[in-house]
Symmetry: D2
Subunit: 322 residues, 4 copies
């Protein structure tokens, strides 16, 4: 059994991690830390977990009692955590914040997108779990980058659900505002752009085309709908071959022949990819659940890889479908 | 022209009042007060009013320049307002809070439900505008009370939209929580019960049956769906006659023959009433828009009456329908 | 391994059964019958099951190759099925239609509500799976009936999601109509009333109080929110004891202390029960997912019981939460 | 008074026309034709119009009794209508189908986008009312085309509500499917592309850049959210000047400084335009209500122009806001 601790256990991504890990066959949940909720049952905060767990939030960090910790604190907080704590050398870490996603001097975290870095992840002990938009968008482009086929500007639009913005109530997460509403934000300036470009350049060094990204707030709770397109000179069949080959042994990515809809992936760790060719453009749709493949499910997928388990262990989740 | 001032202009009910009054043919909007927004254009806060008005929020109360003020501050604030301000004697007041709805020594406000008190409202200068639940629920019961037919326990369930809870973001107004969700609250203890009983007793003195009311938070934005039932010995046709007669000259209340749906009244000042008889019970459905017939539309209806205008003036609103 | 066949595999309840059974550790899915889809991959119709199963719909009924069949055809069709087919004597049946729920001469089906009939279910080979409303409502009343405490009229309102009405597109399932909308239907006349009364009388013979039930169409997809109340002379604590005792060894029913919300149970087989006492009335809230505890999850729970497995096997489902 | 007839009165666009025209101060509604509903009250089909009109659907076409007819039949039906009927020479026509939007030999309809063709519309008697996507998209691009500034590829994504797909229930309009869902359709192949290009070329003859358009089905009922971008060498201020000038005397188009949200325009005839500049790209957002500015409101706007009335007459509609 892998012994697991969760740090920052009261937020959305921690809740989702708990929903997955509680029934993971090779995991023992040792502690769930939350300063604000220490002493409360986990199922009091994540109240859908009633009957699934008797765990109680703790404020203590029993880092010596676990094999891996998931860091689910806000952005910026993971870095602070490492400044304040010295971790046991055996301890593996999966960080769900953006603090360690970008490569730089002294950052020994591996970017935890299994479809890009699986072999390195397997040997790593520190994983920077990708952002939700970043996951959905990279999956539309990696097979092209792997073949040096990002030869023109990249055009991306992505629509995200309300859980992507976290649990703190705000004006744009107010039901009266958001129901039946849509708005764009951080147009061409989303903070996930950095990690996306970094991955594309990892596969296609020298990639320097413009990356045009319009993020949209949707009026749904879960899921990211990405539509991307780029100049592509081959045929649709050639494109499909590229994608099929690239994702051949990646069990969560599905290339579909029929134009898909977002709810096909909700409450699962799947990513659905769909291609069309028009004129000289290849259009790529990707669908993911932002809290699972875009966050906590991917974190578990990374943990599975780090501990030599089958990637899918504990991730055969019942889709919600409706 | 009736010269109008609005006090507490930044909230939901004030916004809705503005949406109605701006195109009211006999109203001149003189000022819209808001401490927190003084100096800002009204259309910056109520941003759907762009192009509809050039009004700017003010912090000054030009009470001598208007014929009527609408008080749209939070509950408790209207009472404070009267303690701090001396109003010109000519000035009429429509208060949208619950501060003056209950009769008591020294309270000279008339309860502003036109279907109950129209003739008194016409001669009044101070109106306590009813609560949204209270409006929808009273409309299901008044014709019975008027005929002393509240002879058994009253059973009421009502489902309200998120705008009923105001614009302050809270846990239960968070889109991620409320979308596709339902919950009950203040079961048998809702604060509107007082004004409902008061009105029922006005028509049927001595009414003392149990009043069982389960309020539900729905996952829609606007509208209150009330289902009520009570023991009734007559036939369905007799019940329909009672309701038809009671509402005969009330232009916003419609008795329908076909089981209705909430969106038929949304964005209008209408109330739809529907009856069924089963065994010895009369079931009464009422549908209203909580922000219009349940708040600001009714406030305008009251103003119309106070100033001798046709009740419907300015209230022929385009339904949203979808 | 229990060998399973599904008959009528293209509808909502069959889809939900498949989502659960595919990862049930002791089930082998042998065939999924659908006349209209014979030859198509199951994941083409239930397209969220992509990658979860390679099953293909068949038109053949290999009844000798399975231990149990689930009948997921429309109401009335199960009866026809039995008229046209002779079943192998070893074959167990779980019928999800209403065809065999009511006791009558020659009907040897057991009513499959484990919280009512668990011991009988364990020894049965034919189960009539309860209706969704019926499940949610019975759970609010059974502990009282078991103690002969249904001493007054029963008052029930229940709000159901759109999946309760099946997958055929209709006027009231049209998104443009249903979004943000509410309506009542079959007031005091819902077809589930028969099975509810039958169960109440099983526990409290002679129960003959009026049963007042207002069903509401909600604008959500999954879940049934029941609020019920009845005269109750004991204290709240006494009521809680009754419910706690009655459900003590039923693993899917949870009595909660905090007023709950529907999404706590969505995508799970749980039922949440919440009690309040006001005046001489006991108010009981129950929350269930109409497609799981109200249909396919309960069908699996029944199968587990019939085959001597732990009731929860395969039913530790990840809640969707948002 | 302008005497008005509506042909094809039972659909969404006719319902919306009725909601507007009933309170239009200079319109007399003479007849509303519907074969399938002849003899029924209009408010039986458009049941939110209860109390607003006593009109009854007719099957007769009293073309001599009206000054203008609105054709609200399905696409293709308007052409058939003209083949079967000879219209009185005085009769003006506003056609809401796509049958006459594209210029070709013998088509004497004027394309009814007032922001493009107002002066011609004023003198016309036959108007082809634009498509909903086409309206929202053209408004993002016309000011550039008017200045020959469409110098690069055009990138457009637009998200539409369920009312855009009409009232016939289908798989993708089923609430269980569409709630919380998203999907793309007719990618790069939407039928509105023709009329958009035609208008762009009217202002910028020779425009032949690629037009990349991804239409998305959103999970809302009303409204089209367009995000477009194109290479633009000027500054943001220069762009704003271009747009401000182009729309200076068009009362329904608003250039806003703050990133807007779709519900600001719902239930109004407004179009909101918002600009950002990033690198060498100009991003343009437009928001419209597909049933009003994208259909029936624009049809009324065209009628107003044809009859010499102020463009806004009857179109000061209360926004729904929430």
């Amino acid at each position: 059994m892998v012994k697991v601790g969760i740090i920052g256990g009261a937020g959305y991504t921690a809740g989702e991690l708990l929903r997955i890990l509680i029934y993971h066959p090779h995991v023992e949940l040792v502690f769930v830390q939350s300063s604000s909720n220490a002493g409360n049952p986990v199922s009091k905060v994540h109240d859908d977990l009633l009957g699934d767990t008797d765990l109680v939030f703790t404020d203590a960090l029993s880092l010596n009692d676990v094999n891996v910790v998931f860091l689910c604190m806000g952005h910026g907080k993971s870095k602070e955590f490492f400044e304040r704590n010295t971790l046991p050398s055996h301890l593996k870490v999966v960080d769900l914040s953006h603090d360690f996603r970008l490569k730089r001097e002294g950052n020994d975290f591996v970017y935890g997108l299994p479809e890009l870095n699986r072999n390195v992840i397997k040997k790593s002990s520190r994983i920077a779990n990708p952002g939700c938009f970043a996951t959905g968008i990279q999956l539309t482009l990696l097979p092209l980058a792997a073949n040096n086929l990002l030869t023109g500007e990249v055009h991306v639009q992505a629509i995200t659900g309300s859980t992507g913005a976290g649990q703190k109530p705000t004006e744009t997460s107010h039901f009266s505002w958001r129901n039946n509403n849509l708005s764009a934000y951080k147009i061409f300036e989303h903070q996930h752009e950095g990690e996306i470009i970094q991955s594309l350049q990892q596969l296609q060094p020298g990639f320097d085309k413009e990356f045009n990204f319009v993020p949209i707030r949707g009026n749904h709770t879960r899921g990211i709908f990405v539509s991307a397109y780029i100049q592509f000179e081959g045929t649709l069949e050639e494109a499909k071959d590229l994608y099929r080959n690239f994702y051949a042994d990646h069990p969560f990515v599905f290339l579909v022949e029929k134009n898909p809809a977002l709810k096909q992936v909700i409450n699962t760790n799947k990513a659905i990819i769909y291609l069309e060719k028009h004129r000289n453009k290849l259009v790529i749709i990707s669908l993911t659940d932002n809290l699972i493949k875009g966050a906590s499910g991917q974190a578990v997928q990374n943990m599975n890889l780090m501990f030599g388990m089958d990637e899918k262990t504990g991730l055969n989740l019942k889709p919600v479908a409706f």
